[in-house]
């Protein structure tokens, strides 16, 4: 069996004449993967394809080495938290979860017990037997997440899981997702909000206009963006001498002084590691003292911006 839980091979999807995804290939191992992209990038389509909600126009998708086609047993190993509201309004929270578990092949007693466990875990117990139609937005979102993971799937797809959650609930859900990733599950989290995903995983796929733009750790991706040298902002006691010392280095593209602040200097480098290797020696040789150092565009936000725009 393949080491990958999810194998997407040359998948394209068209809605009539509109192309939503173009020749996407992606292999996903157990752990947490963030699927990022702006609205309309194609990430929801990719998630729906991977979770078997849609069939690809061309290409192949295998989950745990199997295809969804005529294979309902595979669904027992997959969980999906859809973006849209999708609950049975007239059921209570525990009743809904129990029914969902029974659909996955669980017995009535086990389903009730597991539903009660999840209701407590996700802090929904206070709603009691109240109907889902009376739940708040955040409670509904937690219930959607609960139904997706209740049957202990091996592969879990979460589409915008933090929508509608307050700060406390976000932490709760983030911790839960991280725990699931650690336990060996494959969790794919789709979001257009960067810091949500960044808090959960550093491993991500960036998608835009229907095709994959980058894959990997945010720092690895940043290194690959040679068109956009990394910007490091430093505060030093002698910026001019600092500039002179670094200008000759091959990995440094340019160094800028900041007119508003006489101590600040911005270094544009292609190779962050090389810069940090050279830095102590240069500081010592030129007797320069450094007060602070800050990477301006090393975070996810910047990477995302460069890749998407």
């Amino acid at each position: 069996m393949s080491a990958y839980s999810i194998e997407v091979t040359n998948v394209s999807k068209w809605y009539g004449d509109v192309s939503a995804l173009t020749e996407v290939s992606l292999n996903i191992e157990p752990g947490i993967l963030g699927l990022l992209g702006p609205n309309g990038a194609g990430k929801s389509t990719l998630l729906k394809l991977m979770s078997g909600q849609l069939d690809p126009s061309i290409g192949e998708i295998n989950i745990l080495g199997q295809n969804y086609h005529n294979n309902p047993q595979l669904w027992s190993k997959v969980g999906l938290c859809p973006e849209q509201d999708s609950l049975w309004e007239e059921f209570s929270g525990p009743g809904f979860l129990s029914a969902m578990l029974q659909l996955q092949g669980w017995g009535v007693h086990d389903s009730d017990r597991r539903a009660a466990e999840l209701i407590g875990m996700l802090d929904l117990a206070k709603a009691g037997r109240r109907r889902v139609s009376g739940y708040s937005k955040g409670m509904r979102q937690k219930l959607r997440i609960a139904q997706s993971l209740a049957h202990r799937p091996e592969v879990l797809f979460l589409d915008e899981p933090m929508t509608g959650l307050d700060a406390t609930s976000r932490t709760l859900v983030s911790d839960l997702i991280i725990e699931m990733g650690r336990s060996g599950m494959t969790v794919v989290v789709s979001s257009h909000i960067l810091h949500e995903v960044e808090n959960i995983t550093k491993e991500m796929v960036i998608i835009n206009q229907g095709s994959l733009r980058a894959r990997g750790n945010v720092y690895e991706i940043r290194e690959l963006l040679t068109d956009h040298p990394l910007q490091l902002e430093l505060s030093v006691d002698d910026p001019r001498r600092f500039c002179q010392a670094f200008l000759g280095k091959p990995h440094v593209v340019k160094v800028e002084l900041v007119p508003e602040d006489p101590e600040r200097v911005i270094v544009f480098t292609q190779h962050q590691n090389q810069f940090f290797q050279d830095l102590p020696e240069i500081l010592e040789d030129h007797d320069i003292h450094i007060k602070s150092i800050h990477a301006e565009d090393e975070d996810m936000e910047a990477v995302f911006k460069y890749l998407v725009h």
Binding site: Y15, G16, V18, K48, S51, G52, Q53, L54, P72, Q73, W75, S76, K77, V78, G79, L80, P82, Q84, D85, S86, L87, W88, E89, E90, F91, A99, M100, Q102, L103, Q104, G105, W106, G107, V108, E117, G120, M121, L122, D123, R131, Q147, S148, H151, R152, P153, E154, T168, T171, L172, D175, L176, E179, M180, S183, G184, M185
Partner: protein, 305 residues
């Protein structure tokens, strides 16, 4: 608020091995469909139906008892005249005639309105709530889903066919002294009623589920079903006017064709074989097309092209 340690203590273990389905998904879907409808029905509406059925069932019990114990009831002086007039008005009939008269017509009437009011919610509510996406992310096939919805319809039609039939037979057994004779007369009636129940479930079910799968709002689905019934009652007249009378055109009168097939089931005889053939053909054709269209409509994600 659940603490972090609480999550960790729950232990998120990976599932390993094959899981066997304990309860069939179609059963759960059918049960949930009825549960959802009952829960969403207003108290007044629910009470109206409960009262209507209590009256109907009470009438069944009373008339069955009266019919089988008429000689005893005649001993009541003030009732004797009325009963003699009632007896004279209707010739002695078999048990099957009694079933046909007291089940077939009321069943068609109740089924028609039950489908409009409740059957219309079966798929439309799922569509409105995006529940199809959740259903099909579980170990649920399209067949399970569709069969489950028919199961929900079957529960509704059972209330107007199987339950009254069971009442008549049970009261009959209690009210007659010669049980063996009664069983001889009526042993095959549950089979006929079962067939009629299946007929109503499949024919009315397929059309209401199609209407329900086409609309996100149940009242629109109910209105479409009503429109379909009116259209199939009127359209054959127009066709007959243009092309001349033909059994195929006559068979397109959907509700009356179902009633005629029901009558043929109960009476176990065919009056007009040619017409009945076309009625069965037309109803089967409409049902088949409806089921095919429903299968095309039950997609987890609605793709807008």
């Amino acid at each position: 608020m659940a603490s972090k340690s609480e999550i960790y203590s729950q232990g998120y273990q990976k599932w390993d091995g094959d899981r066997t389905q304990v309860t069939p998904p179609w059963y759960l879907i059918g049960r949930a469909g009825v549960q959802n409808i009952l829960a969403s029905t207003g108290k007044k509406s629910r009470m109206f139906f409960i009262i209507a059925f209590v009256i109907y069932y009470f009438m069944l019990v009373a008339s069955t008892t009266l019919r089988l114990q008429i000689e005893n009831f005649k001993r009541i002086e003030w009732l004797a005249g009325v009963l003699e007039a009632w007896q004279a008005a209707q010739p002695a009939q078999s048990e099957v005639w009694y079933h046909e008269a007291f089940i077939l017509r009321p069943a068609i009437f109740f089924t028609f309105w039950t489908m409009i009011l409740y059957g219309s919610q079966l798929i439309s509510k799922d569509r409105a709530a995006n529940a199809l996406q959740v259903y099909f992310s579980k170990a649920v096939s399209r067949f399970d889903y569709l069969f489950g919805k028919f199961f929900a319809v079957a529960q509704m039609t059972a209330v107007v066919t199987l339950v009254p039939s069971a009442i008549i037979i049970c009261v009959g057994l209690v009210a007659t002294t010669d049980h063996l004779e009664f069983i001889k007369q009526s042993w095959y009636i549950p089979i006929l009623t079962g067939s009629f129940w299946l007929l109503l479930t499949i024919t009315y079910g397929s059309i209401i589920l199609l209407c329900s799968s086409l609309m996100n709002r149940s009242y629109m689905a109910g209105a479409s079903f009503f429109g379909f019934a009116v259209f199939t009652a009127v359209f054959p007249y127009i066709l007959g006017f243009i092309f001349g009378a033909h059994s195929f055109v006559e068979g397109l009168k959907w509700t009356s064709s179902i009633a005629t097939i029901g009558e043929a089931i109960y009476s176990l005889k065919v009056n007009e074989a040619g017409l009945l053939f076309w009625q069965v053909f037309d109803v089967a054709l409409v049902t088949g097309v409806a089921i095919f269209l429903i299968t095309r409509r039950i997609e987890p994600v609605e793709v807008v092209k």
